[in-house]
């Protein structure tokens, strides 16, 4: 063996990953799932009802009676997620079983508090546990079985404060089993303390899977984000070969290198150095900004992207965390929700830092969004039948294959 050959694991090597995952087959995935109405329909039937979907945070509804509305576009559903008098969080379809009005008309994401849910149409009233408590003009109904006319529930559970729902009448797995190993590195992370949320909303003209895929490789950084991010790409790793890839059942974890030697730009330098002075460990402080990842990896030279199937990406950043969610609206339309969360800023330096972190990220996300719209336009032509993937794009292949596990089980 040549002493000059790079270690097989090193980012200086090539063709490291596909050999480790022979079950994925040869690199390359078909185009059809991104442009086909039929495939979209299959996803609606076979994928979306059978997965756990993140809807919000437990601290958004801290007290009994607190609720939020969450639309689930691929299932044409609107949910009420509510904390009951017993403090248990439950999810219900936002549908009155009388004549099908929505009970709550606020838009998705709206938070409220109530003692009961009263339908605006005729006044049917349900308690916080979804039980029908009052039927107006009850004696005029024929054979009404009130106990069977509660709000339709969806399985609801919480992991690390994230509230998930599952539309299957009998979810195949508990939430914790579904999350599995990808949750291990996050146990105990102070998400609930870093709950000051900035949100962005985008509706893009592309298939949701294209957008998810754009975050599953570093290969595009050099070209697409040439202006904004190339300085973070080191000379000896020009195509951002990954630190590692972990394919964990339905989920994926990729680790990107961030060039430590990059010269910070002026405003970045001001934002970061002022912020670092604030977070010099003193021990026992309010537990706010600057928590490193529980795994101990430095937040400064590696960047972990956690992709939780089907449509949640969770990244820890300096002093906070970002979550992206992707909701299909049509085969070529996606609602992209971005949350950037930090501890509540208590002074101008923290506000300035959070502003910098968000705006710098946001500029790159706006580039990711635009290219996927151009991809969709091109793929719609049908001129290419297959997406050619290189070794470092393995997570793209894995994600799309997991979708196929649902839409075409056992190759059906």
């Amino acid at each position: 063996m040549s002493t000059e050959a790079p270690d097989a694991d090193s980012y200086l090597s090539t063709k490291r990953w596909f050999a480790r995952y022979p079950g994925l087959g040869a690199p390359g995935i078909p185009v059809e799932p991104f442009i086909s109405d039929e495939h979209f329909h299959l996803e609606r039937q076979r994928l979306w009802p059978n997965v756990w979907l993140m809807t919000g945070r437990a601290e958004h509804i801290p007290e009994p009676g607190d609720y939020f509305i969450k639309d689930i576009p691929p299932l044409n559903a609107s949910l009420i997620v509510v904390r009951g008098r017993d403090r248990v969080v439950r999810g219900f379809h936002n549908v009155c079983p009388h004549r099908g009005s929505q009970l709550c008309w606020e838009k998705s994401g709206t938070r409220g508090s109530t003692t009961a849910f009263k339908c605006p149409y005729h006044g049917f009233t349900f308690d916080l546990e979804g039980i029908l408590r009052f039927v107006p003009d009850e004696e005029n109904f024929y054979g009404l079985e009130k106990q069977r006319m509660g709000l339709a529930a969806v399985a609801t559970d919480t992991w690390e404060g994230f509230i998930f729902v599952n539309f299957s009448p009998k979810p195949a797995e508990s939430l914790r089993a579904y999350i599995g190993e990808i949750g291990d590195g996050l146990a105990g992370y102070p998400f609930h303390e870093q709950n000051y949320q900035y949100s962005y909303r985008a509706v893009l003209n592309c298939n949701w899977k294209l957008l998810v895929s754009s975050f599953l490789e570093g290969f595009h950084v050099r070209a697409l984000h040439a202006a904004g991010l190339r300085r973070f790409v080191s000379k000896d790793n020009p195509y951002s070969h990954l630190d590692f890839v972990k394919l964990l059942g339905k989920h994926r974890l990729i680790s990107l290198y961030v060039n430590q030697a990059a010269t910070p730009t002026t405003v970045a330098d001001i934002a970061f150095s002022r912020y670092r002075k604030l977070i010099t460990p003193v021990g026992g402080a309010s537990g706010t900004a600057g928590a490193s990842t529980p795994s101990g990896a430095s937040a400064l030279n590696k960047f972990l992207i956690r992709n939780i199937f089907p449509n949640l990406q969770l990244n820890l950043v300096m002093g906070g965390w970002y979550a992206y969610q992707f909701w299909p609206l049509a085969v070529d339309k996606v609602l992209w929700e971005t949350r950037m969360c930090f501890s509540k800023p208590v002074n101008a330096t923290q506000k300035f830092f959070q502003c910098y972190a968000r705006y710098a990220s946001r500029d790159n996300l706006m580039e990711d969004g635009k290219v996927t719209e151009h991809q969709q336009l091109a793929l719609k032509s049908g001129v290419i039948k297959k997406l050619v993937l290189q070794d470092e794009e393995i997570a793209v292949q894995h994600f799309n294959k997991v979708v196929e596990d649902y839409t075409h089980p056992q190759g059906v």
């Binding site: 919000g56 958004h60 998705s108 994401g109 938070r111 949320q197 900035y198 949100s199 962005y200 909303r201 985008a202 509706v203 893009l204 697409l224 202006a227 904004g228 300085r231 730009t265 002026t266 405003v267 970045a268 001001i270 934002a271 002022r274 929700e337 949350r339 800023p345 208590v346 002074n347 101008a348 330096t349 506000k351 300035f352 502003c355 910098y356 705006y359 710098a360 946001r362 500029d363 996300l365 706006m366 580039e367 969004g369 635009k370 290219v371």
Partner: protein, 114 residues
Amino acid sequence: MTATGNDRRLPEGFGDLEQFVEVWALAEEQQRMQRRWSSSMEQIQHFYDAMAPQVERALNFLDGRDIEALSPSESRLLYLTYSLVEVANPVEVYHRPASSHALPPDRFAPVDPL
């Protein structure tokens, strides 16, 4: 609509920045994004060149105030620091008001918490 004297006031010692208040002391992120996208590089550079050397002094001053109870002039100063962040990428990395291949600001909108 031109700002009156009071509407442009910044805290004592930051008078040199008052010329930028009307255009750049914007309270909302979406406003700042739109301003950046619709400004010329000359306008952006002019603001950046004046604000960047002052921002640490501004933040030092504001750190000494109650961030939950800023006066109108202090708030305006804080918004100027946010606008500096907004124009940082145009000046420092893109060398144009926005990336040539990014979604425009109305397509990636700051919203109330999801």
